[in-house]
Symmetry: C2
Subunit: 521 residues, 2 copies
């Protein structure tokens, strides 16, 4: 019988009971692992984080914590091949894995560096100026940030088992808050291995990181107002978690980062023959095919000037025709599998829904040529480009979480802004233009709808990381449909795990409180 994936709870590796869920190889359909948390003592994990991990982390200064984050990143880097190999079973090509694995430890390294450079000595952040509260200056105020005395429950999505975990773990560790990671079932074996590598490196104090492979029934009931829940995944699950009494009644700090209907806009200046036209087409194809389109930041809505939509359709279709779908690592393969056949069925249903007022311009949802694998046993799906008119509703409502995007025309900037807004908030948008006036108008008019906007042109393209890549220095998250939260964004993510408190005192008393805090480093 297939092995049960272990969890790491209260200082030891443990396995759940019962049959659990069998996770199939995305490429072959063979069973990889069984996932169950039945019988695990989840309350012990919560207790352990509170009583062991929290005090241990809070006792370390920021510099020591930054050193730990660097060490765990280097440990992952050294053993990245093991993670690539496992990721291939989840359908990821080497390029996909790099986004996840190298992106993951790279993010941790950037966090370590930001922490070392940007956080003070000691373990208290003094934020902003001293506020004089009286005329004579004998009474002042000062905001400080201290570690929340709770734990961070991190519920991650299947598409980035390593990066998604590390972009939450690194800020929590820097902030002195212990983590319980709960990976998505589909790729939990990749996350489990990453945790194993980290723990085997022996760089974290006991209790700083625990792992639950499988469901976490009742765990939110155990959380209180010093705890945090960070969630990445579907809007539906986000809503369910956010409605839990832990959040609504006990003020557990909750952040959601949900998939959104991100857009990319082609500027009117970027006609065929300009570098921007090619950048737009290349960017769209990259976002459709990277991770087989299973990215929360992927471009789902592609807006182009009405006059060029046929040309864009042709250019994108021509590039999509070159995509080779198949087993990761097989000769010539440029796009892997979806994470599973359930996911493929979901995407197909969504594409059907989109076709209510969109039409297929490229690809066939029912048929795909596959290299090195069986197209039915594996979760393969070819890239699908749709086209819709300005009055279509479904492209602004239905998300096909796969290699799927919808091209739509726009007639003028006002209409464009209205179309962008119909997505009800996104993680990422991009504007491909060399015209600063157009860029300014669209960026400022749609900024409030986005967590991040990329302006791409001939000048930044060489160094640009592209539409779909969150950066640790910049906020990742977005309003409305995107979940309303923020992750990353430099040290903001660390501060998110800390409590801001206004201290009021006389200036000498304040100084002695904060100086001593500083001396304790």
């Amino acid at each position: 019988m297939t092995e049960v994936l272990p969890s790491y709870i209260a200082g030891s590796w443990q396995t759940g009971q019962g049959e659990g869920t069998t996770v199939a190889d995305a490429v072959t359909g063979d069973p990889v692992v069984r996932v169950t948390s039945d019988g695990l003592d989840l309350a012990a994990a919560v207790d352990h984080a509170r009583s062991v991990g929290g005090p241990a982390l809070r006792g370390l200064d920021f510099a020591t914590r930054a050193g730990m984050v660097k060490a765990l990143a280097l440990a992952l880097s050294e053993r990245k091949q093991e993670l690539y190999d496992l990721s291939a079973r989840a359908g990821s090509t080497r390029a996909d894995s790099k986004v996840d694995v190298d992106g993951g430890f790279g993010t941790a390294l950037v966090y370590s560096s930001m922490g070392r450079k940007g956080l003070p000595a000691g373990n208290v952040v003094v934020e902003g100026p001293v506020e004089q509260l009286g005329k004579e200056g004998t009474f002042v105020g000062q905001h400080v940030l201290t570690s929340r005395r709770g734990l961070a429950l991190q519920i991650n999505a299947y598409n980035f088992p390593v990066w998604g975990m590390l972009e939450k773990l690194a800020p929590a560790l820097l902030a002195g808050v212990p983590t319980i990671a709960k990976p998505a079932t589909q790729t939990s074996y990749v996350a489990e291995h990453a945790v194993r590598i980290i723990l085997e490196a022996g760089v974290l104090p006991e209790g700083a990181l625990q792992l639950v492979s499988g469901a976490i029934p009742g765990m939110l009931d155990l959380l209180h107002g010093q705890d945090l829940v960070g969630f990445t995944g579907s809007a539906q699950t986000a809503a369910k978690l956010r409605g839990h009494p832990a959040v609504t009644e006990r003020s557990v700090r909750f952040t959601a980062e949900a998939d959104s209907l991100n857009c990319s806009v082609l500027g009117p200046d970027a006609v065929s023959g300009t570098p921007e036209f090619d950048l737009y087409v290349g960017g769209l194809v990259a976002e459709m095919t990277s991770k087989a389109g299973q990215k929360c930041t992927a471009i789902r809505r592609a807006f182009v000037p009405r006059g060029v939509i046929d040309e864009v359709t042709e250019a994108v279709s021509a590039k999509l025709a070159e995509v080779v779908v198949g087993a990761p690592g097989a000769e010539g393969v440029t796009m892997g599998a979806l994470v599973g056949t359930d996911q493929r069925a979901d995407v197909r249903r969504s594409v059907e829904a989109l076709q209510a007022d969109s039409r297929l311009a490229f690809g066939d949802p029912t048929k795909v040529d596959v290299v090195g694998a069986d197209p039915e046993k594996g979760a393969f799906l070819g890239p699908l480009l749709l086209r819709a008119e300005v009055d279509a509703r479904t492209p602004h409502e239905v998300e096909a979480f796969g290699p799927v995007s919808t091209l739509m025309p726009y007639d003028d900037r006002a209409q464009l802004v209205d179309l962008v807004a119909r997505g009800h908030g996104s993680l990422a948008g991009s504007v491909v233009t060399h015209d600063p006036d157009f860029a300014r108008g669209v960026v400022l008019d749609t900024a409030a709808l986005h967590g991040r906007i990329l302006v791409l042109d001939r000048d930044d393209a060489a160094e640009s990381t592209g539409h779909g890549i969150p950066m640790p220095q910049l906020v990742h998250g977005g309003p409305g449909r995107a979940g309303g939260g923020e992750e990353e964004g430099g040290l903001r993510a660390v501060y998110h795990h800390m409590q801001r408190t206004a201290i009021q005192a006389g200036p000498a008393m304040l100084e002695s409180i904060l100086q001593v805090a500083d001396d304790e480093k």
Copy 2:
């Protein structure tokens, strides 16, 4: 029949239909006003904010908005006597009214000043440094804050009808976000009059401020991810609102500021005869009697070294014995009424619950001498001091929202920190000590449990604003039981109404986007 309190919706004063709720004078029990929103077109209010107020405010630069906030504050200041007179009907003495009315327009003035000095030209905030994202410097990132394209629904508590409204309204106006204010029924006639003064001053663009007197059934159903809800009041209502699909599914930005079991700590150095001993006693009595204890920041839990608890009890009781309860304005009266007899019944029930493991040390919940009013028709209640042991549970769980506080001993600092933590998060705490070591230990060990901590001693006492007074410069809010939110805190409250977006571009493109934004001032 008693008149219906008007609402201001979509550009006109309107009155709801039906009988509604009759609000009684807190002092005489006579009807003051009826409150009903039945038949009002709440959807029109939402539409009006979106289509009229929002665009009008967003079209103004920060400096103009700061000027509006100053103008409305001055208008309130000029007509403050009208607000004092109305507040007296809600049980407030002149001193109570000043905290609310002068505190309200004073807060708006500080916000205007902070906005004028701290916000940039134009209407976009550029936040933090330019982040270099590539080695060559051709690709950079920059966070900006722009006005959220929605409205702020502000649901206020009864105890501060003016201040509570203005500390939400001022930041929203500065941020360019239109407000719909929804006061608590009990003191809605005070809030209505404040709104009337503001609107009559003619300083706001139409749609920037609307008022719903009465319930708002279905209004949250109309909100989306660009909107905000700011709530002050009970934890129970906060939980209900936070569990609404507007918040859980559509990511309406939600902040709660809920009453909490705030503590005040007397340091071991502050024995009888020290200035700090007297400051502690005076502060506790002030917090018990100001607004008749109806303050979300009031001291509910008073921790003192075991050795001095009898002395503290005596000193506090002696001062409480001097309190004169009665009609605001009547000869010698130093403490007014609760807002209504329902509230008094609530407080009595809570005191009964507290007596499960606390005992009354001063006062009688069933009997009070009242000057200038009928003790039964008016909502009068004398101050009540309770005492409990370190193992008592109810003082950490039951809030009596009136002139009630519980004294408890502590034996050492570790035990003290544990006792403080049992409140599950507070808006405000205070430590009265002249010993920097004790202050440092308690402040840093309990900071994460508080939104604000006052360290009070002989050096800052003269200028200190006291335990219970939030300051516009400093965060107001707190973790856990206090609602997990933040209000005020300087420009943070303005930024809360804006959307943070990371812009990625080449440096020249970024500069031209932001420079032009700046030129548009």
